[in-house]
């Protein structure tokens, strides 16, 4: 019994030796295939983007040209616009991204209308990880509304209806409820007005001039109306058409609210209140 393990081991060794190739005695050969030199292309940094402000919405529009990848005509497959608070360094905020499909417009808008100077850069991408970023373009959006004045009715007037109408005639010409000016370096897009009356006697509910008569204001106040405008040097003259003798008649406080917007939708609102007693 004590010999059994040795016998088993010898048998196993013999079996193993019998199965294994005589590799120590086998011939060998080796062939090596070499490829030559592989090189990789690189991404060109995109050109500095152009940054403008969109008329109407006032959003900041960033546009750029396609960025080359390698030397064989490939271009970036996608782009991201980054906004920085400084010309160098700083942590970017991703504004938008564009996939460069054929015919795609390489531009996007930053609708946040941030104040102060911002710095925009375009980051081009190719594949999953390759990227190259342009230099930054500084841009300060126009966030200032037009300068607006009210010639008549002159704010703070207290007096008779007749004197008020004469002042309107002198300042605005016949058949005007009010007039003034609006000016903006970028241009004034529109002027709108609201005329309200708060009677000092009887029913003192707030009333709105609807173009024909004063009506009690609704829950949301009075709807604004477009003023007539005409271009003058440096801006517009605005005018509220109407028969003054029909409007400025009852006692109370008349308030003209004028809102002018520039081409980038920046508003300026002024009011002029007069009291007829």
């Amino acid at each position: 019994m004590t010999r059994a393990p040795h016998v088993v081991a010898l048998v196993a060794l013999a079996v193993w030796l019998g199965q294994v190739d005589g590799t120590s005695a086998a011939f060998t050969d080796r062939a090596v295939v070499t490829s030559g030199t592989h090189t990789s292309g690189s991404m060109a940094a995109p050109a500095v983007p152009t940054v403008t402000q969109v008329r109407g919405s006032g959003a900041t529009r960033v546009a750029w040209t396609a960025s080359a990848v390698g030397d064989h005509g490939a271009t970036a497959t996608s782009y991201e616009v980054q906004r920085y608070d400084a010309a160098t360094g700083a942590t970017p905020t991703a504004v938008c991204s564009v996939t460069a499909d054929p015919g795609a417009t390489l531009a996007c808008e930053d609708g946040t209308r941030p104040s102060g100077t911002r710095h925009y850069a375009v980051r081009a991408r190719f594949g999953a990880s390759w990227r190259a970023e342009s230099s930054r373009r500084a841009f300060a959006a126009d966030l200032t509304g037009p300068d607006v004045t009210v010639t008549q009715p002159e704010n703070g007037y207290r007096g008779s209806a007749a004197d008020l109408r004469r002042a309107l005639d002198r300042g605005c010409g016949a058949d005007a409820l009010g007039c003034g000016s609006a000016a903006d370096p970028a241009g004034v897009e529109a002027v709108r007005w609201v005329l309200e009356l708060r009677p000092s006697a009887g029913n003192r509910a707030l009333r709105c001039w609807d173009g024909a008569s004063f009506v009690v204001a609704g829950a949301s106040g009075c709807a604004d109306r477009a003023a007539a405008t005409s271009a003058v040097s440096g801006g517009l003259r605005w005018r509220i058409p109407g028969a003054a003798n029909e409007v400025y008649r009852d006692r109370g406080t008349y308030t003209v609210t004028v809102t002018a917007r520039d081409v980038f939708a920046n508003p300026t609102t002024v009011t002029s209140a007069v009291t007829v007693n």
Binding site: D21, G22, T23, A25, A26, F27, T28, D29, R30, A31, V32, V33, T34, S35, G36, T37, H38, T39, S40, G41, S42, M43, V69, G70, D71, H72, G73, A74, F126, G127, A128, S129, W130, R131
Partner: protein, 198 residues
């Protein structure tokens, strides 16, 4: 008489046996000790057969017809310049057993140079490379065959050959750090060993 006779007969026969026993034993011992007989006196002869022109065979794994022991074969068409992620090249190499014995071979791939770590290599046994792609992005591939794992043994008997399609690609996920690399190479090593068992 009879008494003598009775006693004389056994006494005469037993003496003969006793006399013969020693020489017989001596002869038997001599035969046992010298079973070859009298060789010292036998005639002898010897004949020799000479084998002429014997030589060893050779094991030869040839690539694209280029054989020889431990050879290196260049396939510059496997290389691509200015690769961008997603591009690839492919080529078919013909691995042939042009030696005198059946063999098994296995393939090992190494990539070197600055671009080497980013290159991905596939081997397709029995596959064929498609036509050269000259439009960008360049994407060449292998058609047919089975993917060959690193170190996987392939038996190729004497006189037989196998197609091996080699595809080198720069994956789409290649890291940004591999832009603009000017060195990169792929080396395919085929190690063959004689088959010593059926």
């Amino acid at each position: 008489m009879s008494g003598r006779h009775r006693s004389a007969a056994p006494g005469r026969g037993g003496g003969l046996v006793r006399r013969l026993v020693p020489p017989v034993l001596a002869l038997a011992a001599a035969v046992a000790l010298f079973p070859g007989g009298g060789t010292l006196a036998a005639w002898t002869d010897r004949a020799s057969v000479a084998a002429e022109g014997m030589s060893t065979g050779r094991l030869d794994l040839a690539v694209d017809g280029a054989g020889g022991l431990d050879t290196t074969h260049a396939r510059p068409d496997l290389a691509l310049q200015g690769m961008v992620p997603g591009e690839s090249s492919a080529a078919t190499v013909v691995v042939a057993n042009t030696g005198d014995a059946d063999l098994r071979w296995s393939a090992g791939v190494t990539t070197d140079g600055g671009l080497g770590p980013a290159l991905e290599v596939e081997l397709w046994l029995g596959g064929r490379a498609g036509p050269d792609d000259t439009t960008y992005p360049r994407t060449e591939s292998c058609t047919g065959g089975v993917r060959l794992a690193p170190g996987e043994a392939v038996r190729t008997d004497r006189g037989a050959s196998r197609d091996l399609c080699v595809r080198v690609s720069l994956p789409v996920a290649t890291d940004d750090a591999f832009q603009g690399r000017t060195t990169g190479s792929v080396s395919l090593r085929l190690d063959a060993m004689q088959v010593t068992t059926p």
